[in-house]
Symmetry: C2
Subunit: 196 residues, 2 copies
DNA sequence: TGCAAACCGGAGGCGGCCTCCGTATGGTTG
DNA sequence: CAACCATACGGAGGCCGCCTCCGGTTTGCA
């Protein structure tokens, strides 16, 4: 139950290496996508491959850590948006921001797909939960407002966003994605009480 | 310009091997996804790895051939649907069928993503064109009918469907995808002349 | 200062990718 | 039917990335 608390503080050198690996990974992922060779990342970080594997036993573990902060930030933005504009606008803006953010992080897309899946590794569970919570808060508010229909499942929406994001790494993707998010939003509005 | 016409008939043994490879590939892809080792496919087909590479110089080439027929069939169904029901219903049904079909072919999803991309290999261009044509015919009819808004881009829709399909290989995916397709359809209907 | 626990690094085994070239075979011609 | 050659075969081999394992090193505590 004390999952996120470090079991025991890392030794100084270990902490140093871990940080270096994370920095190298973020950089490498940004340049070459999540498929970059792990050996390369270790090299960039100036540590041996064994060290990388000790800190991050799987590629996924490394990827999750590399993107955790960014995803957290986006999720936390939901509360701010909700306090600044009507719920349906907040939902639309958040989804757009989500999609924009992913577009800016090459390699993140595939990760989010995994994170939005149900059965996937426990490592992704945390990300998934945070994103679902963010979506849920906005959906609830929008439903209460009568701005969108009431049969919306946050998990559905998350999966769809994840799917949309899979199509990044394309030139005109950003505009396309925005259009599709808007279309999705219209689908949500269709048949809502306020539209009657 | 004579792309699809075989430059010259294959020698009998070559044709035999090619067919065996295709059959083996379809089987292997269905079992293990498109990432199956090519060596394994060659083994299943009872040919050497060299032979595989001669017939299909890249993995994509093999994948495209393996799925060509299926995709063609789905695309051709658009005309039938259009002749049997109102355009918007046809569009919805086609998109649903599309998504269902992909669900039944493990590994196809990733391929369609590539096919729905713009810049991708020429091999996918043909698939992409056929799918766009199918979508276009139904969209045009639905717009003419006043059933959906008039600012719909088939490429957008295709990409979105591709995105949705990326989430196959999940248990409750099929129902989820159907819900999202329906939601998408509602987005298309939103603000259409007939809905005013 | 000394020692145990924690940590490091990279060699090495495995398996997949793809190329290259010596060998085999189908098909054609006389 | 024989002989020839374009076409096709197959797999060895070089390369690279994955991941494990363990002898050696470093850190921090007593």
């Amino acid at each position: 139950m004390t999952t996120s608390v470090e079991a025991r503080a890392l030794r100084a050198d270990a902490q140093r290496n871990r940080d270096a690996l994370l920095i190298a990974a973020i950089e490498a992922f940004a340049q070459n996508g999540t498929e970059t060779s792990l050996e390369d990342i270790a090299r960039r970080a100036g540590v041996g491959i064994g060290t990388l594997y000790r800190h991050f036993p799987t590629r996924e573990a490394l990827v999750v850590e590399a993107y955790r902060r960014g995803v957290d930030t986006v999720c936390e933005d939901a509360a701010r948006l909700l306090s600044e504009e009507p719920p349906d606008a907040a939902l639309l803006d958040w989804m757009t921001a989500f999609v924009d953010y992913v577009a800016s992080k090459r390699g993140l897309a595939a990760t989010l797909k995994q994170a939005s899946d149900v059965g996937h590794h426990e490592l992704f569970a945390d990300m998934r939960a945070k994103m679902l919570t963010a979506l849920q808060s906005m959906i609830d508010a929008a439903i209460a407002d009568g701005a969108i229909r009431s049969d919306v499942d946050p998990a559905d929406l998350l999966r769809t966003l994840g799917g949309l994001c899979m199509m990044s790494d394309q030139p005109e993707w950003k505009e396309q994605a925005r259009r599709m998010v808007a279309l999705l939003m219209d689908g949500l509005r269709y048949g809502a009480p306020a539209a009657r």
